[in-house]
Amino acid sequence: MKGLFLAVAGLTAVFLSSAIAADKLDPSCGGCHALAKPTDTSLERLLTRKGPDLWFAGSKFNKEWLVSWLQDPKPIRPAGYPYFKNIKKGAKHDEIDQSKIAAHPKLKKADAEATAEALMALKAPADLVPAGAFKGDMKGSRMGGLAFIKFRGCVACHQGENGEGGLSGPRLTDAGARLQPDFIAAYTSDPQRFDPHIWMPTSNLKDLDVQRLTAFLVQLGQGGK
């Protein structure tokens, strides 16, 4: 009951604060995604959430990717969202319980274009995703690849090059096509600023590390190195 009240209150807040963007979005989207920054920052919210937050979508995604994904929403998080609700014991190790993962709503071309437009209007505050967070030096990408797989252990949770890697975080195999470089750099340096209890650790990376990792991820899915 309290949950319902909070949900209603949350929805109201969503529609008030981003009325312009939100009225172009199908109201169903807000049922699973936060379209405005949530005031509830408790662990409880993480445990009951039905989809990733979209209140900073305009500072996260590349618009072309959104338009095509919304028409053909292939899985990004191999174990769905959140992963811990969709796993079961297996013979050798835990496995994904595919029966618990529902297909994402699919949009027609015109709707996908309008929706992408509305999502791109949901910008993060400038101090969350600072313009120029990624300084644009792509030469570090080889070192970034080594850090991803070896020295920083990102591969434990993320599928990187060739789709190899862990399953509890989003696939980054096409990160460069999907995500904006400044977002990658900002999120990698401090995920909890975006999402207070998210199960990605903050590893006290030096800026040089962040730059190299970002360069590596930016070229993933861009076709060639």
């Binding site: 662990l43 992963y83 070896k150 591969v155 590893s203």
Partner: protein, 118 residues
């Protein structure tokens, strides 16, 4: 006087009992969000990420290995990561995500899981 004292002690006991059982429940949830991805639903190092890991995660049910690891080392491994205790970088640093109290709670919880001391 004596009865008052007794009542106070009983009250305190109740308070402690209810607060620890609540803490245990939320600590188990924390294990289920952060640790299960690698250490697994069975807590024995067989999480969903295991095929991607070059070093096997610690089996938290194994009394010998866990029993040989003191509390402060477990605390340090969770807070500062595997590298801080000469282990793999694949064990992340959770100190920016979890509070000291939550990490202390996890150490206590691990002792229940391994049914081992120290």
């Amino acid at each position: 006087m004596k009865t008052q004292m007794l009542a106070a002690i009983a009250g305190l006991g109740l308070l402690l009992a209810s607060s620890t059982s609540h803490a245990d429940q939320s600590i188990e949830q924390i294990y289920g969000v952060y640790c299960v991805q690698c250490h697994g639903l069975q807590r024995n190092g067989t999480g969903i990420n295991v095929p991607a890991l070059s070093v096997k995660p610690r089996d938290h049910t194994e009394a010998k290995g866990m029993g040989d690891t003191p509390d402060d080392e477990l605390f340090k491994a969770i807070k500062e990561g595997g590298l801080a205790v000469n282990k793999s970088v694949l064990m992340p640093t959770w100190g920016r995500v979890l509070s000291e109290d939550q990490i202390k709670g996890l150490v206590k919880y691990l002792r229940q899981v391994c049914k081992c001391g120290k």
